[in-house]
């Protein structure tokens, strides 16, 4: 750790160059290969692999077959930053009116699904005697977001690194499956952009995968999925707080000394995703007429590349072997809850949205 702390910013940048080049290569390859694949009926009709999805898949393929040398690792850490930057720029595609129109119902559906999934997962965990920290990590990951929510809940429930790695892997693997399965479901059921965007925004929980699945279907669906994604992220601190309280209660009920002091205000303040304010600022600028149509188009190109690079980084850091670490029962439990949630989301979307 000492060496890491001593590194200068310049050294960090130099160390990141090989990984950054790899990320760019994968993103550019996905960008050019995706339209080429669309020429074949298999990919055009059944297995829709747009560049976003392809970037994730190509990254995973490289990471889990040939492997990635340590020299590339420092440059692969920017997936979250790139994806979030893309989300801020995405604000240029919305107006306040549009945001309120889609965002109002979105917040309601998200709240129901988020808290519902978290509560059900904790209940299932208790029934199947899954240790509280792992159950809380899974509940957090499967309801809010695989990576950031799992990391957020971990200290509050004293989760081990293995619990965290496992929860993140289950969520990412389910999202990966969803990337391949959701688009054909959308086509078969003739879902509208609003319906499909909501289906992705509720059914998938990793930001990159939600956006990749949404934009992979259509731009309109991607924009709706983007709003659901932001709504979900906003709820993160509140779900983490609820899970921390539930986990502490379960530990106390089972007679373990698990009483972790919970500072409610601190959890909400520390975990609130302030980058969402950047997104809202861009939406406000756009609503005030700050950007013309060609400028919005260029901003969209920037957004696409932020996402493409971010998704390539995510693929390049996804280890399929993490799934083996915690056994089959948790894997099935995680997939069962995530699958049930996606199925219910589909029914709700078909019943209540046009």
């Amino acid at each position: 750790m000492g060496d890491l702390e001593k590194k200068t910013l310049l050294q960090e940048i130099i160390d990141s160059i090989p990984g950054a080049i790899l990320v760019i290569l994968v993103a550019v390859a996905a960008f050019f290969i995706a339209p080429f694949l669309q020429k074949y009926p298999l990919f055009k009709t059944y297995l829709e692999l747009k560049d976003f999805i392809l970037a994730i898949l190509m990254g995973i393929l490289i990471k889990n077959t040939v492997g990635i040398s340590k020299i590339f690792e420092p440059g692969l850490r920017f997936s979250t930053i790139l994806t979030k930057t893309g989300i801020v720029v995405m604000g240029a595609k919305y107006s306040m009116m549009g945001l309120v129109k889609v965002g109002g119902p979105a917040l309601f559906y998200i709240a129901v699904f988020l808290f519902g999934t978290a509560i059900i997962m904790m209940w299932v965990g208790e029934r199947f005697k899954v240790p509280t920290p792992l159950a809380a990590c899974l509940a957090s990951g499967l309801s809010v977001c695989g990576v950031s929510a799992t990391i957020a809940i971990a200290p509050a429930v004293r989760a081990r690194n293995r619990d965290m790695a496992y929860s993140i892997a289950v969520v990412l693997m389910f999202g990966l499956l969803a990337l391949l399965v959701f688009p054909p479901i959308g086509r078969i059921l003739h879902l509208s952009d609003t319906q499909y965007g909501a289906f992705c925004g509720v059914g998938i929980v990793n930001s990159a995968q939600v956006l990749a699945a949404g934009f992979g279907y259509s731009e309109g669906a991607g924009l709706v999925a983007g709003i659901y994604n932001i709504g979900r992220v906003i709820f993160l601190p509140f779900v983490v707080l609820m899970l921390a309280i539930m986990a502490a209660n379960r530990e106390a009920k089972e007679g373990r000394e698990g009483n972790v002091e919970i500072n409610k205000w601190k959890i909400i303040k520390d975990k609130f995703p302030i980058f969402v304010l950047g997104f809202l600022a861009v939406v406000a600028l756009n609503t005030m007429g700050f950007l013309s149509k060609p400028e919005i188009k260029l901003a969209k190109t920037f957004m696409n590349w932020c996402f493409l690079l971010g998704f390539a980084s995510i693929g390049l850091t996804t280890r399929l072997a993490d799934l083996k670490a915690a056994g089959l029962s948790g894997f099935f439990m995680g997939f069962l809850v995530a699958g049930a949630k996606a199925a219910i989301a589909l029914i709700v979307v078909l019943s209540f949205l046009d």
Partner: protein, 33 residues
Amino acid sequence: MLNWFKNLSKSRKQDLAVIIMGMLLVFLAKLLK
């Protein structure tokens, strides 16, 4: 000001960087078109 920034958690610094980069890209789009 500098102390305030130094005391921020890593995720907060990351969020600030994201907001700045995102806004810069939006302004760049405005400048280039």
